[in-house]
Symmetry: C2
Subunit: 226 residues, 2 copies
DNA sequence: ATCCTTATATATATAAAGTATATTTTTTTT
DNA sequence: AAAAAAAATATACTTTATATATATAAGGAT
């Protein structure tokens, strides 16, 4: 089936996640060429010979968007020989968590946000890649507050809980969430409150900008003893 | 520095871990050619065009050893342009946990077990890869009893504790370990005891052969509720 | 102005999991 | 028979997680 003189091609693909309109959303680009013409795909590109994988992922991100303050982590490498119909393309997938206020689409191509719970038809194995990035995000959230990467600079505990619920895909008890959230390392209580809501104003919180490794994920559990 | 007409090469490298002589050990092969001639390396090989990454890792494993009952998981993809001095080689690293009774070295090359706490000079970035596989093994052990993959078919709780201590790199309290271990899902108490020890015989235990995914790690935490 | 609605905010009891610590039992060796 | 070594067991305490009820602050309706 494969001519052994053909070579592998290696790409990076980046699942870019944000919270927008009360939903977890992923940035997708519409393919203009075959294969999978008119299907949606996660942004990606070939790895250049002179760049490492993290840099390639960052470059792909910056080709499509103006962004700062991202959380970027290598997800998994997908290398099924049949994942690309015409070539042997191995892709090193990354996932990124960004604040919607911190990212602007700059590419002119057909690029847009899609709710992860309602994905359009996707090219290649990109559905699997997105699903796995959601699973990994949940695993990260269980050991550290990565969700703050999806929240605005200042946020209420209700907004924080909403972010957790969107990621964990389940309803949480408000009182218990609150108690646990307040014990989170790095969470700072502000002397500011929401205005313009029609209800009782909520206190605002912020996160100290903890150095979350943007290479491999090396998290420290709270406490960290046994 | 790099000629852009050169192509990437893609390999898999497999960190094979076992417990032997009361120590965590890794299988290494001595390089016979430059670069890094006479340094030690983790077993690896090129990914063939017709095989997926998991299969390539398994093939590498089977080229060197006769083995069954392995736990194999993709670890991380290392792609620094300078990791190989003469070429652009991206490697998808795997790690494997095997029982020392279940693995036999079959390759004629210079292959041997080395204690992870006392590694010889290593080629490429293989030291980093081994270190990361240890970290990942610890993370896995915190959520599921992968350590049983390193234990013989029948084992005592003291042996199990020893395996945990070798992986976690710390001493555990015998009484508390025992209590926790006995509540592990899948652990079966046998009506057998060690003989021939010079001390009081210990009860033997075994693990139900749980289906641990050999592809991506999809573990289920005990309980699994929030 | 008073009441209603809605979301914020707080307290406490209970259950479960983790941590700390001492003593007895069973076997072999001397 | 006594000593030595490892196995086995029990209990108190601390921390974390879960379950549940009520008070507070603001805007909107009457």
């Amino acid at each position: 089936m494969f001519n052994e003189t053909k070579t592998h091609e290696i790409t990076v693909d980046v699942v870019i996640l944000t919270i927008k309109n009360n939903a977890l959303q992923v940035l997708l680009v519409k393919r203009t060429n075959e294969p999978f013409k008119d299907k949606w795909a996660i942004p990606g590109g070939y790895v250049r010979l002179s760049e490492n994988l993290d840099d390639a992922a960052l470059r792909v991100l910056k080709e499509k968007t103006a962004v700062d303050n991202i959380y970027l982590e290598q997800l998994y490498t997908f290398g099924d020989p049949l994942r690309h119909p015409n070539a042997r393309v191995i892709t090193c997938a990354y996932f990124a968590l960004v604040r919607s206020e911190d990212i602007k689409i700059v590419s002119s191509s057909d690029l847009g946000w899609h709710k992860v719970m309602d994905l359009p038809p996707l090219a290649f194995d990109h559905k699997e890649i997105i699903q796995y990035s959601l699973k990994r995000t949940r695993e990260r959230l269980e050991i550290c507050p990565v969700a703050y990467q999806l929240l605005p600079e200042k946020f209420t505990l209700t907004e924080m809980q909403k972010a957790y619920e969107l990621i964990m895909q389940k309803k949480l008890d408000k009182r218990n969430f609150r108690k646990k959230a307040l014990s989170t390392d790095g969470l700072l209580e502000l002397e500011e409150y929401t205005k313009s809501s029609s209800k009782r104003p909520a206190r605002l919180y912020t996160f100290e900008r903890i150095e979350l490794n943007s290479k491999r994920a090396h998290f420290i559990k709270k406490g960290d003893k046994k």
